[in-house]
Amino acid sequence: MQHGKYRFIVGFLVAPLALYAIFVIWPFVQAIYYSFTDWTGLSPDFKMVGFANYTRMLHDDIFWKSLQHSLLFALLLPLVTLGLALFFAFMLNVGGRRRKGAAITGVRGSGFYKIAYFFPQVLSIAIVSLLFQFAYNPNDGVINGTLKAIGLGSVQPDWLGDPNLALWCVMAVLLWSTVGFFVVLFSAGMASIPKDFYEAALLDGASRATTFFKITLPLLWDTVQSGWVYMGILALGAEAFAAVQIMTVGPGGPDYSTTVLPLYVYQSAFRDANAAYATTIGVALLIVTLLFAAIVMRLGRRERLEF
């Protein structure tokens, strides 16, 4: 058995590892290589320029602004989304009034809410962004229309057109479109926590908040942690890009108030035909993403509870 072990394992792993190397590792290596060239992306000739792209990036105000926004997204968005999702999931599963026959139960109509919360997940981010673009229309959009209807006709913000509000508008859209997924994820996690724990705690006179912090959260920690990484990557990557690209002024504006790293990568590569500089920013984005994942894993390390 021992004898053929390696050959056996290698036999199974070689195909997936080769695929991984070709389609994941190789593009990474390639991108890093191109970041040291002056490749335009439109012609096959280019030359090495050393660290020129990196020096340029470090002196580029727009890069720092994009980085700042991306970091804000990566820190704030998971916090708010997961917090809200945890709250909703708790209410749906444990938060209800005591009813006959069950010690713990969700709020009334929790089955309906579960579907309602999950619904935005069915729509792609592109469609969600388009819908909100109409809602944010300061001229005849839903939000300002509602404000007018309830007598706040004097408060008619420009939403996406206002540099102080635009970034928050984008975040709200991402929050709306992702929170439902985590509600369902956490609900599933909570359903697997044995009911006796709650019953015992309630018998001891624990309040709902105590049961949440002492029972639900610790037993759900693994799920929360992976949710955190997933949400952070989403906020640093494609979803944030799509929302900004579709909804915002410019896009990335007004006056660079919503620009994010992936948008800057896209613009450098496909608008400015400076693929080398785009890959340089891409490398920076890679580092930020890896750091984020490492920090979350490190901070979140806890003893695993068996139950």
Binding site: W39, P44, N137, D158
Partner: protein, 483 residues
């Protein structure tokens, strides 16, 4: 590999053998990776064998090889593709032995970039749309064919005339970047300016204002009736230059725009720029801009304007097609050159911005460049031009081609505006030379902020001059000058 060594390495962390094994594995990965790397972007040799040129005859002045296949890629956008397939069918009739491959797409860049990198581009491309490939880079990297033979070839309609002499003003110049070669053939012809509804003006007993005081008076009159004077694509404030740039030229002469295009120091500090900016800022200050404009996109602004919420919108002639479903039947769409400041302006009222759209290119490494140019020559005939105009409500680069077809109100007004302008057609080049500067920096960060009231004209000018200076210094972009 014995079981003992496996156990040993488990206890000692990374054992000696493991280290060797792992580094060998790494080497296995990295060696092919490096050769891949050098292969990917630099596979420039490609299939360099071009089709042999055919014999030049009077019917075939470009010397097209009658049997060589022709590959055409068309942008499938607002103009559709019918006009191109029609012209393509004509090519097939003229050269029945040639195999013609026609392809329409919206993803110009993602489909064609690999072909340019691989050295196998098609023979004719309509490089248009959101995924347009950067012309400056294509020219700078010698990826395009000089179209001078096409321009010097006799036109289809009148063999005594060269194609060059049948085109509208500015078309040839727009295809040049530095020096004589013409790299791009713009096929559509766009009129930019202030678009409005003649019906709406009639209701206010007004005509289109020729001086800024008259403009302000008209806006005041409209405001009293609850109509805003102006709206624009707030999310894409680079629509504002469509009327602002010719306004600057009208005040200070076309040299001011040339200096701006040439990125000369202090070009934006010209008094004409200051007056024009201040005039536009006054629209904001007096509340003549439709409420919420900074937060709406081009479609939303055009819809609000078509619904009669605002009188004027800076736009291009595509607006008639783009907003066709919201423009009411009795709208009576019209366009005018920008309102001037006063009688001291250097250029007369009617000065307008008009230029080519739908850039067609023939790649340098195309297999059949003569075929690509011949296809363009067919498209530049009067019949093809008329076909295009009647299908998509836009003029073409062919000068004329509007007789005998019914023109829509906007198109008719565009033709009239061009007649009125005569030689006073300006053609600012920032938007094709320096896309980032024009759209993101001047448009969004400069004009957009000023029109939303967050910058004063003086601050906006200072900011824009800073961007222009930075662009002039940036060695990673190619710089151009007016000839």
């Amino acid at each position: 590999m014995g079981s003992t060594s496996a156990e040993n390495s488990n206890t000692e962390g990374v054992g000696r053998r493991d280290l060797i094994k792992r580094s060998a594995a790494l080497g296995l990965i990295s060696v092919p990776t490096m050769s891949f790397l050098s292969a990917c972007a630099s596979s420039d040799s490609g299939s360099g064998d071009k089709a042999k040129a055919g014999k030049k005859t009077t019917k075939n002045p470009l010397g097209v090889n009658e049997t060589a296949p022709l590959a055409v890629v068309i942008f499938d956008g607002g103009f559709g593709t019918k006009y191109a397939t029609d012209a393509n069918a004509q090519y097939k009739t003229a050269y029945p032995k040639a195999k013609v491959n026609f392809h329409a797409t919206q993803k110009i860049q993602s489909e064609l970039q690999p072909k340019f990198n691989g050295g196998t581009p098609p023979d004719l491309i309509d490089n248009s749309g959101a995924q347009q490939m950067d012309m400056g880079v294509l020219v700078g990297k010698k990826q395009l064919t000089d179209l001078t033979p096409l321009l010097d070839a006799p036109s289809i309609d009148d063999p005594s005339k060269k194609v060059r002499d049948t085109l509208r003003p500015g078309i040839v110049e727009m295809g040049q970047f530095d020096g004589a070669p013409v790299w791009i053939m713009y096929y559509a012809y766009t009129v930019y300016g202030v678009w409005y509804s003649q019906t709406a003006l009639d209701k206010l007993d007004a005509t289109y204002p020729e001086t800024w005081d008259a403009m302000l008076a008209l806006c005041e009159k409209a405001k009293k009736k609850g109509i805003a004077g102006w709206t624009y694509a707030g999310k894409y404030p680079y629509y504002l230059p469509f009327s602002l740039y010719p306004f600057i030229a009208k005040i200070g002469g076309r040299e001011v725009l040339d200096k701006i295009d040439n990125l000369e120091p202090n070009a934006w500090k010209d008094p004409a720029v200051k007056s024009a900016f201040e005039a536009y800022y006054e629209l904001y200050k007096k509340g003549y801009i439709l409420q919420g404009t900074p937060g709406i996109d081009h479609i939303q602004s055009q819809t609000a304007w078509a619904k009669g919420k605002a009188l004027f919108i800076p736009n291009g002639s595509w607006v008639e097609n783009e907003s066709a479903n919201v423009i009411p039947k009795d709208f009576n769409l019209a366009v005018s050159g920008p309102t001037g400041l006063d009688s001291s302006d250097k250029m007369p009222f009617g000065t307008i911005w008009a230029s080519g759209g739908e850039p067609f290119i023939v790649p340098a490494k195309a297999n059949n460049p003569e075929g690509g140019m011949e296809q363009l020559r067919i498209m530049l005939s009067e019949a093809s031009s008329k076909n295009f105009t009647s299908q998509v409500k836009s003029l073409t680069a062919y000068n004329g081609g509007t007789d005998g077809i019914t023109l829509t109100p906007g198109l008719k007004s565009g033709v009239a505006a061009l007649d009125k302008a005569g030689t006073n057609v300006v053609n600012p080049r920032l938007q094709d030379w320096y896309v980032k500067l024009q759209k993101e920096q001047i448009g969004v960060a400069g004009l957009g902020e000023m029109m939303a009231g967050r910058l004063t004209p003086a601050e906006a000018i200072k900011k824009i001059q800073g961007y222009a200076d930075a662009a002039a210094k940036d060695q990673s972009i190619k710089h151009y000058k007016h000839q």
